[in-house]
């Protein structure tokens, strides 16, 4: 039996007005929760179809390069965040060959904790980002596809490409209500050893319930412009973008 304020659910996906059995939840609510948890657990272990993703970039004539961390197994990925921040020897070598001074932005894409997120939202999100950067006349390095990576791999890649900005798009940890949230992290002057305080983060990109591609790309463009202007990213770059500028 739901609560009388059940209609408020139109404002949020949160599990409100669940009703109760004594102080516990109802059987229906319990079973819903169990199924959602099971789905999220399965989503974490799902691998990323990088071939399919790369083929889509190819179709759109977006230059890209495929790199790897020393990890190929999802369980090991969960246990070794340190390895997820590194490229393997082959990746390091190929990236060094590619590097030439003058890229404004390095864009890195990884499945992170949700392959579903990059497979669902990765391509359209990337298209919006590329369009915004083109308007700003910023040069983009070949897009780096790196399965099983952590956010900090963008420091190493950004530094090797001698980019002014590193942007990593990564699948966020699956929740019960959403297994397909994307995150974007921006770092100015990427180099090994950057801390999280030096990054700006946009999370919950997951239209239609979460942030839209358009809003995320606009916010990223705003933060990129401010970072290039002020020479800083992270907690010292305050997001003071007026709300009405968001589409």
């Amino acid at each position: 039996m739901n609560d009388p304020w059940h209609s408020l659910r139109r404002f949020t996906q949160a599990r409100i007005a669940l009703g109760r059995a004594g102080n516990g939840i109802t059987t229906a609510a319990y079973l819903d929760f169990q199924l959602a948890h099971a789905s999220a657990r399965d989503a974490v272990l799902k691998t990323w179809d990088v071939d399919g993703f790369a083929a889509q970039l190819q179709q759109q004539s977006l230059a890209h390069i495929r790199l790897n961390t020393p990890i190929s197994d999802r369980t090991r990925y969960l246990q070794r965040p340190d390895l997820g921040r590194r490229l393997d020897a082959d990746g390091l070598k190929r990236l060094m060959e590619l590097a030439e001074p003058g890229f404004d932005v390095a864009i890195i894409i990884s499945n992170g904790l949700s392959s579903t997120a990059v497979e669902t939202h990765g391509i359209p999100m990337l298209q919006h980002i590329v369009a915004r950067y083109a308007e700003m006349a910023l040069s983009i390095a070949p897009i780096c596809l790196v399965p099983n990576a952590r956010v900090a791999i963008s420091d190493c890649i950004g530094a090797l490409l001698q980019a002014s900005l590193a942007v990593i798009m990564v699948g966020e940890r699956p929740g019960l209500s959403a297994a397909d949230s994307l995150g974007l992290y921006l770092t100015y002057a990427p180099r090994e050893g950057n801390t999280d305080a030096e990054r700006n983060c946009l999370s919950n990109i997951r239209p239609p319930e979460g942030l839209s591609y358009q809003a995320a790309a606009q916010k990223l463009a705003y933060l990129s412009r401010e970072a290039l202007r002020s020479g800083v990213s992270g907690v010292h770059l305050k997001d003071d973008m007026p709300k009405q500028l968001l589409g």
Partner: protein, 462 residues
């Protein structure tokens, strides 16, 4: 100083106090990841034996990080109250454990005689029941608009997060929580973004709800401390200033904070004088593994680093401190067993060091844990006298994508253990017809006036 022991012809060496503490720690993914953990169960047991023999004074003589390079270490030494320490000055860690278990007095007056390292050390040779039995006797009471931490009370932080910070969505979750008797520790939102306009909108929303309905609680938007400071300068209604903190200067730097900045923020919030009942204005969150995650642990194990964060917290007389114990993920706390142990350790260490300690009893979907593990930790912490837990609709945080405790969980725990909300908040729940005067939900909640009168954004009905 080198610590060594020989058993069955085999010699075990621990090259310094840091190493000894790490090897004596109950098994933990974070320490294994950092390469600090004991390499065998025997090595762990022997490290615990050596640790038990160590005089407590050793922790003053051998700082884990040179104070010259770490302001948290300087703070720990500066806080240490030699007079209060006199009681334990001659004790070993093992004797201190027995003293804690045998004594029956309130322990809160001793807290500044103890350093985080001493407390972390003794916790490593305590079983879960020891951690619970001792923590129960540490009562830490704080106040803003109501009173947190009184004996026989359990408060909750109402956590109405929304993936895009939609004010109506947030307000809907707040109403749901209030109707389930939640929110006496704080109504605290994790914002989806730190955008200044956005955080300000949420602050105004919370302020209107609390003022209009005269709820004896406080609000917080858990933005970065510098964001809260900028908004206070712009005149936004900030009750509590939030910040994540850790146990080394370098880890705090990775969060973009230092002690001076926290002091400045506290002074700004105090000068607003919004409390009414008391002036504890800070809210801190911590969690084992954060220093390692920032590569700023200096070879110190995750649990000892965490206890050191409590030295930072207590410097600023916070209203609330909670460990977000299972949030960090399986690389640091692998499964339910490790999360439960860490939650009990953090609560014990925080309480013994004088903090109003709560716990976000939680896990992520990539950890080997489930609701049953959370039920266990929740119940254990209730027995241990935890000041507050989280209240999230259906235990599912739709913004942060993790599972915490629900409004229902708090009702279960209060009912099972005879615990009540903060007294001022309980009176409000009774007056609003949400509770029935007997610490339980009233039956006829469909007719509660709050339901029809609830004001969301800008005074409009939801």
């Amino acid at each position: 100083m080198n610590y060594s022991v020989s058993v069955q012809g085999k010699c075990f060496n621990f090259q310094n106090l840091r190493t000894l503490l790490a090897k004596a720690s109950p098994r933990r993914a974070a320490d294994e990841l950092a390469g600090l953990a004991a390499e065998s169960e025997v090595e762990r047991a022997l490290a615990q034996r050596l640790l038990a023999e160590l005089p407590l004074s050793r922790f003053i003589e051998e700082p884990l990080i040179a104070p010259e390079i770490d302001e948290v270490s300087r703070l720990i030494l500066q806080q240490h109250d030699a007079e209060a320490f006199a009681t334990f000055a001659g004790m070993s860690v093992g004797e201190f454990r027995e003293w804690l278990l045998a004594d029956s007095s309130d322990l809160s007056s001793l807290s500044f005689g103890l350093t985080p390292e001493m407390v972390a050390a003794v916790s490593k040779i305590m079983r879960n029941q020891d951690l619970i039995a001792v923590a129960r006797r540490c009562r830490v009471v704080t106040r803003f608009r109501d009173t947190i931490g009184l004996p026989g009370r359990l408060s909750t932080r109402l956590q109405p997060n929304h993936p895009t910070d939609n004010p109506r969505g947030v307000a809907a979750s707040i109403l749901d929580g209030l109707l389930y008797g939640s929110g006496d520790a704080v109504i605290g939102i994790n914002p989806a973004t730190d955008n200044l306009d956005n955080v300000c909108t949420l602050l105004n929303l919370l302020d209107e709800i609390i003022q209009y309905h005269q709820i004896p609680t406080q609000s917080c938007v858990l933005a970065h401390v510098t964001t809260s400071m900028q908004l206070m300068q712009r005149g936004a209604p900030v009750d509590l200033v939030f910040q994540s903190i850790a146990g080394t200067e370098a880890a705090n730097r990775s969060f973009g904070v230092d002690l001076a900045m926290l002091g400045e923020a506290k002074a700004m919030a105090e000068s607003l004088g919004r409390g009414g009942l008391g002036s504890n204005v800070m809210y801190f969150e911590t969690g084992q593994g954060s220093a390692l995650s920032a590569d700023a642990h200096h070879g110190i194990d995750a649990q000892t680093c965490e206890a050191r964060a409590y030295a930072v917290a207590r410097e600023f007389s916070p209203l609330l401190v909670n460990t977000v114990v299972g949030f960090i993920g399986p690389e640091y706390l692998y499964d339910g067993k490790q999360i439960i142990r860490a939650g009990l350790e953090d609560h014990f260490c925080g309480k013994l060091l004088g903090l109003p300690m709560g716990c976000d009893v939680c896990y992520t979907n990539h950890a080997e844990a489930d609701q049953n593990d959370m039920d266990n930790l929740l119940t254990l912490l209730g027995v241990a006298g935890c000041a507050y837990i989280m209240g999230v609709p259906g235990a599912d945080d739709v913004m942060l994508a993790y599972q915490s405790t629900s409004f229902h969980d708090a009702l279960y725990l209060r009912h099972a253990l005879g615990l009540r909300p903060a007294p001022e908040f309980e009176a409000w729940l009774d007056a609003m017809g949400i509770f029935n005067g007997c610490n339980s939900l009233a039956d006829a909640r469909a007719t509660i006036p709050l339901l029809s009168e609830f004001r969301g954004i800008s005074g409009e009905p939801l």
